[in-house]
């Protein structure tokens, strides 16, 4: 019975939130890693692309709500996703056409592209803030819970409750579908194969007649899809505020680097590694341990490695450790 309580407490406060967060990070990191693999620079604008895509989706959601459309128990924002993705694709292609294309023609060093993306980040940042404002937006609707903590307690008869939010379930299901589709696309389709060829060896790819402009365009479209979905899932599950999306940049890059920059599989693994580490290190284990050990051995303190204030620092530490000891990441990326 006590082991069950420990498992439930762990699942409720650590496993479910960390898994949902990990899935959101993984999708964001996939976008960053694609840009790194194919366009060969770290795209600092990733977080703000997510913010922009989410903003477009929020406008779509408001439009649908105004028309009286709803998605039953699921958030209406899911219906507005295609609209948000379309707008974001337009923005990214326009950015590539007006900014990145110029530097690509010059064949500038990747460092310069990184700084260029920093500029793009500030512009996107500004666009989002000017359009929707800096305040928090809550656009979640539909059923809030798959099951609540109280319902679970009554059903199981345990001391500990466990809740599953609709947005957490939606996040995990959507992330699995998107990742499966992306891998199918990269492995099986002609365009996907040409992208991988371009990523592995640009010169050989060009020699064998792959159109670089097409590859670049498709990359940006994929980035727009991934960023918008990641941003919307994050916003649904937590809340939308331009500043918090800007702050997501660090964990996203930590995830991409941990997995190996340029490696899609690594980005997913990295997303979960970062998310679990953040939550594991800052969680107070008092309750879980209290259930597992005999009553007289139960800890008095919180059994917390680090205060939750330092959550963001965990990403930094992981980033530094990986760059020091495993510069190419867990799955052999291109960095290092």
């Amino acid at each position: 019975m006590d082991i069950l309580n420990a498992i439930v407490a762990f699942t409720n406060f650590v496993f479910i939130p960390a898994t949902a967060y990990g899935a959101q990070l993984a999708l964001g990191a996939l976008g960053a890693t694609l840009v790194y693999g194919i366009l060969r620079f770290s795209n600092f604008a990733q977080g703000d692309t997510m913010a922009f895509g989410t903003m477009a989706t929020i406008y779509g959601t408001w439009g649908l709500q105004a028309m009286g459309v709803s998605f039953g128990p699921l958030p209406t924002a899911l219906l507005a996703l295609p609209f948000g993705i379309l707008v974001t694709v337009g923005l990214l292609l326009a950015t590539d056409f007006s900014v990145y294309r110029f530097y690509r023609k010059q064949k500038v060093a990747p460092t310069i592209l990184v700084i260029v993306s920093l500029g793009v980040m500030f512009v996107m940042n500004g666009i989002t803030r000017i359009m929707i404002g800096v305040e928090e937006q809550n656009f979640t609707d539909g059923e809030r819970f798959v099951f609540t903590a109280r319902e679970f307690k009554e059903w199981s008869g345990l001391n500990e409750g466990m809740a599953l939010k609709t947005t957490q379930a939606v996040t995990i299901v959507t992330a699995v579908l998107v990742v499966a589709w992306l891998f199918w696309f990269l492995q099986k389709t002609r365009t996907g194969k040409s992208m991988r060829a371009f990523s592995d060896n640009e010169d050989l790819a060009l020699l064998s007649g792959i159109n670089p402009n097409h590859v670049v365009r498709v990359t940006w479209i994929l980035v727009a899809i991934l960023a918008t979905i990641a941003g919307v899932l994050y916003g649904l599950d937590k809340s939308f505020k331009p500043f918090t999306y800007f702050q997501l940049l660090l964990p996203i890059f930590a995830a991409a680097v941990v997995g190996g920059l340029g490696n899609p599989l690594g980005a997913i693994a990295g997303g979960f590694v970062v998310a679990y580490s953040e939550v594991f290190v800052t969680y107070a284990w008092k309750k879980v341990i209290g259930y597992l050990v005999p009553a007289d051995m139960a800890p008095d303190g919180l059994v917390q490695l680090m205060s939750t204030d330092y959550k963001l620092a965990v990403s930094f530490i992981i980033l530094i450790i990986v760059l020091l000891f495993m510069p190419t990441g867990l799955f052999k990326g291109k960095s290092g």
Binding site: A163, T244, V279
Partner: protein
């Protein structure tokens, strides 16, 4: 007989001449800076009291009171002390209403007021640190110290049967000061504090913070934060994970937007905000509305009371010298005596001149405790069926 009458008339004239000088009062608030949205109403309140005193013509044998505004900036201690220095040396003020924020108030007190021996009454500096500051008896405040809110909070929690509490506070001076005073008072009353941790404002996700609080456990979660910031996120995440279902809301967490955001999960939650049901508050609201500013804006009543207390104390001391009038403030503010509400300042001046004892109640039911600060009165509320319902006043 004729000579005697002449002589007494002359004495009266001379006495009048000696007293009927203009008195200057400085009003130092942060007209620029973080509090710039509420300070204009605060200053208008203080000036309202001064105007009332002037129009009665009863102040110290018909003297006129002038007010001079100066900018404390709320955050820049150097600018604030320079402004206060100018008030005293150039304008020659006999008293200061202010300052507004605790930090600049402390530095004006230590660097300007004490060296120059000028008394000051702040309407809004609530830091517990000012309670034990060296002040040579020159400093008073018409708002309660945050430590007092801690006392009241602990008492309410005990009265409602909470045995253990967890506290989550916003990571700044206000949050830290308030949470520490609640924790200290609650433990002193025999309760146990399972966790006292900070949260950062402006984050999207508070599940990690709530996980920590949940591990610590407790009957009630005290959320010493802001209603539109992290405080809301903490409550939302606690309800989502079933970590806590009863919350205590201190003053920063009171707002209809919270009920809108959280919904029915908030029912049963309780808390306090500064407030009084005294008749003085209603009278002040009337006067303020007639004068064209909003009486519900923060610290307006306290500002009116600060200015009124200064002038009544001067009348009681028959002197504008700070050493004299600051000695009278406690007598004026506290019982016994005839109760004085806003709008009755002219009468109060007459009573004092006639030697009758008065008890200034004012807009905020002023009652000073030991070190010259208001005991404060708090409105206790419970969230019932999606609305804040007042349970009583403490």
């Amino acid at each position: 007989m004729k000579k005697l009458m002449l002589a007494s008339a002359a004495t009266a004239l001379m006495a009048g001449g000696a007293f009927a000088e203009d008195v200057k009062v400085g009003i130092i608030f942060g007209y620029t800076g973080p509090l710039e949205s509420i300070t204009p109403s605060m200053a208008a309140s203080a000036e309202l009291a001064i105007k009332e005193v002037n129009s009665s013509g009863n102040f110290m044998g018909g003297s006129n009171v002038d007010s001079v505004r100066a900018d404390s900036t709320c955050i820049d201690a150097t600018a604030a002390t320079a402004a206060a220095e100018r008030l005293i040396t150039v304008e020659g003020v006999s008293a200061i209403v202010g300052a507004d924020c605790s930090g600049v108030t402390g530095s004006i007190l230590q660097n300007v007021a004490r060296p120059n021996g000028v008394g000051m009454i702040s309407p809004s500096a609530t830091s517990p640190g000012l309670s034990d500051a060296e002040d040579d008896g020159l400093f008073f405040r018409t708002s309660p110290s945050d430590a007092r809110q801690g006392e009241v909070t602990a008492q309410i929690l005990i009265d409602r049967g909470a045995k253990s509490i967890a506290i989550s506070y916003t990571n700044n001076d206000y949050g830290k000061g308030l949470s520490d005073s609640i924790a200290a008072a609650f433990e002193a009353k025999g309760g146990s504090v399972t966790a006292n941790t900070a949260h950062e404002d402006g984050k999207a996700d508070y599940s990690a913070e709530v996980a920590t609080l949940a591990a610590a456990g407790g009957d009630v979660l005290v959320v010493a934060g802001y209603v539109d910031q992290g405080g809301k996120g903490i409550i939302q995440a606690s309800l989502d994970t079933g970590a806590f279902d009863t919350f205590y809301l201190p003053d920063g967490m009171y707002g209809d937007s919270l009920i809108e955001a959280i919904g029915s999960g908030l029912d049963g939650t309780y808390g306090t905000i500064p407030g009084t049901d005294s008749e003085g508050a209603a009278k002040f609201a009337e006067l303020a509305t007639a004068a064209g500013f909003d009486p519900t804006s923060s610290f307006t009543g306290e500002s009116y009371d600060a200015a009124a207390l200064i002038l009544l104390a001067m009348q009681a001391a028959q002197s504008t010298d700070s050493k004299d009038w600051t000695a009278k403030v406690m007598d004026i503010a506290n019982a016994p005596g005839e109760k004085i509400e806003p709008g009755q300042l002219g009468r109060a001046l007459e009573l004092i001149a006639a030697g009758t004892d008065i008890d200034y109640v004012g807009a905020t039911a002023v009652e000073f405790i030991g070190n010259g600060e208001s005991a404060g009165s708090f409105r206790e509320f419970t969230v019932t069926d999606g609305a804040f319902v007042t349970d009583g006043y403490r």
